[in-house]
Subunit: 147 residues, 2 copies
Amino acid sequence: MATMTAAQQRAQAKVQYDAFVAACPSRQLLDRISDKWVTLILAALGNGSPHRAGTDCAGEPRAMRYSELARLLAGISQKMLTQTLRSLERDGLLTRTVTPTVPVTVSYELTDLGLSLYDMMRGLKSWAETHMDDVLANRGTYDARVD
Amino acid sequence: MATMTAAQQRAQAKVQYDAFVAACPSRQLLDRISDKWVTLILAALGNGSPHRAGTDCAGEPRAMRYSELARLLAGISQKMLTQTLRSLERDGLLTRTVTPTVPVTVSYELTDLGLSLYDMMRGLKSWAETHMDDVLANRGTYDARVD
DNA sequence: CAGGATCCCGCTAGATACTG
DNA sequence: CAGTATCTAGCGGGATCCTG
């Protein structure tokens, strides 16, 4: 059993490190918002429509129905839409309201917490719009230098 | 060919939508920072060490060597470390300096752009620390309600 | 020391079909 | 209308081995 000292100890240290990283609030936040559809759903519910090319999103937060979201987020599959909405509901970022009409009507709306997250996303957005072209420019020159 | 109208048109709309989303600066930023190792490398170079449990990161930005980063980020594989550093260099977020000693010495340091991104990450971090416990609490009650 | 080259595996997004 | 169930392929990421 003397052979496990070196590699094994490193492996264990790694596990502990990973666990620590996973417990970090920033990491958890990133895991949540880095999901492609999460941000789009937030944007949809946050300003009444996902931002489109020309129109600079000027809507107000409002509730939306399942089918409305599905239409707005053109590329999403039913599975991912449902799954993402569920997880957001679970985290208290939005509310799911079922109205027992025939057929049933379900609507989704951001909570205060969800709105707060949406606001922070707009901060991200402004950083992105300020600096991403620099990044892309750097990327271009880097790629050109390789040839 | 009359059978392709419905499904096919939706498919095309989806492709265009996806392309639009991919071109969005916010999306590109998210794709970059949502990478697990990117944020950790940023944190490491940004304050002299990745934040640890007790010590509330109070270091200063400084250059680090490859092996130093590898030791600090205990869980990372060589492959991912190299790969991530390369992509960050490509984007102009850090510089890679080779000193032709024997054996070679390579050091990495954040650029101004990289520091700016690191600052924004700290904004994220503060949001996370303020609100993530709410999220986790909601998650707990939601799970309890299901039983 | 710093990194390139391969192989391989688990996860998950997506398509399809069905239902209360 | 608003989902659920199932199956599958693709790929990100890790482990391992090798080099200037």
